[in-house]
């Protein structure tokens, strides 16, 4: 697959006029859908998280407006992108966003029973634990990637010397976290093995079903899609990470299916990245 990557930093905004008059039960009013992409700032892990949230919101069929800001990381209440801004509330990260949207009456996982909900939570933790951490490791602890890609991207909007300082500071933070959770001593091969293990588990859970919990997509599908799609379409110094995912054909089909259904040409959404 040829990979042409347009990195963008997303801040997803809900802008709502009739937010407080929800007597008819309508939650949001559609505003014209923009997005801009700056192209040179976002990193792999942030992109994955952003795409997961975007997919989730598309699945809930909520109208969104995508806005890009260079300092979105600092605007967010928890320091992580993406975040949504609805009325006068700001919510960041997939977990809280799911809960927030559920509180407003939209939920994808209502049809699941208790055991299935537990499974869904467990698999979401698996993805966060393995895939997200592996992405962070790859982009901050692997020297080749750090030198070529991450430093320049992370410090892009800032002038010298701030770009270097901020990049080193972030790298130091991430390395500290890796050490605390026990990933500090892992080699790249071990990390890739972990990714493989995770993909194998996801592939086995998915089996031949269209989505993880059969007919309807849930937040787990959104999360998995976000991570896998980003891994597949991001060009890094080496292709090992995406190769690991490509081994599992049902995961590839899953990504394509979600892309077509929720981001495809039927006008529901627009995604800058293409699965070639």
């Amino acid at each position: 697959m040829t990979l042409m990557c347009n990195f963008l930093r997303l801040k997803l905004i809900f802008i709502k006029n009739d937010y407080f008059s929800s007597l008819e039960g309508t939650f949001l009013k559609w505003i014209s859908f923009h997005f801009l992409f700056t192209g040179e700032q976002i990193l792999l892990s942030d992109n994955a998280s952003s795409l997961a949230v975007q997919a989730f919101l598309q699945m809930c069929e909520l109208p969104i407006k995508v806005v890009c800001r260079a300092n979105a990381e600092y605007m967010s209440p928890s320091g992580k992108v993406p975040f949504i801004h609805v009325g006068n509330q700001v919510v960041s990260e997939l977990g809280p966003i799911v809960q927030f949207v559920k509180a407003k009456g939209h939920s994808l996982s209502d049809g699941l029973d208790e055991v299935q909900k537990a499974e869904m939570k467990a698999y979401m933790e698996l993805v966060n634990n393995m895939l997200l951490t592996a992405e962070l490791y790859l982009q901050w602890c692997d020297e080749a990637t750090v030198g070529e890609i991450t430093h320049s991207r992370y410090g892009f909007p800032y002038p010298w010397p701030l770009n270097h300082i901020l990049a080193y500071q972030k790298q130091w933070e991430v390395k500290r976290k890796m050490k605390a959770i026990g990933w500090g001593n892992k080699t790249l091969d071990q990390v890739l093995e972990d990714v493989d293990q995770c993909c194998q588990a996801l592939s086995q859970r998915l089996g031949t079903q269209p989505y993880f919990f059969n007919k309807q997509p849930t937040e787990l599908d959104a999360l998995v899609f976000g991570h896998l799609f980003t891994i597949l379409t991001t060009q890094l110094t080496s292709d090992e990470l995406s190769d690991k995912v490509k081994n599992y054909s049902n995961l590839l089909a899953f990504c394509r299916r979600i892309e077509q259904n929720y981001f495809g040409e039927n006008g529901k959404g627009h995604i800058p990245l293409r699965l070639a």
Partner: protein, 385 residues
């Protein structure tokens, strides 16, 4: 840090005898327990001499007895170094407990050497499995290693169940482990009254002054780095969040377990080892601050699960196993307190009886002299009870 490559694994577990040797503190039932012989496979025989010296070096004299018996043979010596037990558990440390449980489930012959306050052996990064030339250190890696040695507890699982195991282990590590760490190492009451003395008594002076503090700091670091991000700016908010998460996780586990004996049917697997390793210390260790323990006790199927594993897999071995001693002491103490309580109840009842019984009329003094006696008796009236 989930497990690897157990899916589609080996078909049969290897049977072996478990041999546990306790370098005991006096008062825990003394030194060695009877060694059991196990069969050695032919391919290991040529390496016997070499391995013996290695093990002897590490184990410090355990095998002298067998050598002296003229060629006592043993299987591949897998030695596990871990923290010891108490309150009915084989080990108080979660990760060590996971490995011990898995070894029992899969039948791996593991020689357990408990960390005590001698200077032998290492104390960092416990549990550590040493075997021939390999030193393996984290529970996930140790379990992998055991599987490669054909001690596999998961051979009956389907692919999907294997995937579920990975997912649930990730859930445990993400949601429950921070709360376990907090209960043991960060909650001040618990740390200073229970954890620190326990660990300090098993570490030689002067390390005992340093090491528990270091472990506590490491736990706090881990929690803050993974959970302590904004919007939680204060440790109290982080604590509230992690306890909420832990209770939710325990509820999920309880739902998943339902009424079955183990998580995947009737044989215990890796997931059972992990759940046991994390939940049992919370359930059994006596802490001053017990909010999570109360929650665990309300989930009766998890309690039953832990008790079952303890009684089936960890009681059969070893006389002189300290938890048994501890248990009898506890039992005696319980009986004593019950007796005292009964007595105090009796005394209270007697008191009540006395108070409720009709008041005896005040004693009248004998009227010796009419006039003065009357006066006296009159003057004495107010003093009668």
């Amino acid at each position: 840090m989930a497990d690897k490559s157990f899916v589609g694994g080996i078909r049969e577990p290897r049977q072996g005898l478990v041999r546990v040797i306790r370098r005991g503190r006096s008062g825990w039932g003394g030194g060695r327990v009877a060694l059991e012989r196990s069969e050695v496979s032919p391919k290991l025989a040529p390496h016997f001499g070499f391995r013996l010296s290695e093990a002897e070096r590490r184990g410090g004299g355990h095998f002298r007895g067998t050598r002296g018996r003229g060629g006592g043979k043993m299987a591949a010596p897998l030695e596990l170094r871990c923290w010891g037990g108490g309150w009915g558990l084989p080990s108080v440390h979660s990760e060590s407990l996971v490995v011990l449980a898995y070894a029992k489930f899969s039948g791996a012959p593991l020689k357990v050497s408990v960390i005590d306050n001698t200077w032998r052996g290492s104390r960092g990064d416990v549990p550590i499995l040493t075997s021939e030339d390999n030193i393996v250190s984290q529970p996930a890696k140790i379990l992998n290693f055991l599987r490669k040695q054909k001690y596999n507890a998961d051979y009956q699982l389907s692919a999907k169940q294997g995937a579920d195991t990975l997912a649930y282990i990730a859930l445990l590590e993400e949601k429950l482990l921070p709360a376990v760490l907090h209960t043991f190492w960060i909650e001040n009451d618990n740390y200073f009254t229970v954890t620190k003395p326990w660990f300090a008594s098993r570490i030689p002076f002067p390390l005992s002054l340093i090491l528990p503090g270091r472990m506590s700091k490491r736990a706090l670091n881990r929690i803050l780095l993974t959970k302590g991000e904004p919007p939680h700016y204060h440790l109290k908010e982080v604590e509230a969040q992690i306890y909420r998460d832990a209770k939710e996780c325990l509820n999920l586990l309880s739902n998943r377990l339902g009424t079955s004996q183990f998580f995947f049917g009737n044989t215990p697997t890796t997931l059972d080892a992990y759940v046991f390793g994390f939940v049992a210390p919370l359930y059994k260790v006596h802490f001053p601050k017990v909010q999570l323990q109360e929650h665990v006790k309300q989930l009766s199927n998890l309690c039953r699960f832990c008790d079952d594993i303890l009684s089936c897999y960890f009681r059969i071995s070893l006389a002189g196993f300290s938890p048994a001693g501890q248990d009898t002491v506890d039992a005696n103490l319980q009986k004593l307190t019950q007796l005292v309580n009964k007595e105090s109840n009796l005394i209270e009842k007697m008191d009540d009886n006395l108070r409720q019984s009709p008041q005896l009329p005040p004693r009248k003094l004998p009227t010796l002299k009419l006039t003065t006696a009357d006066e006296e008796s009159n003057s004495f009236q107010p003093l009668s009870p």
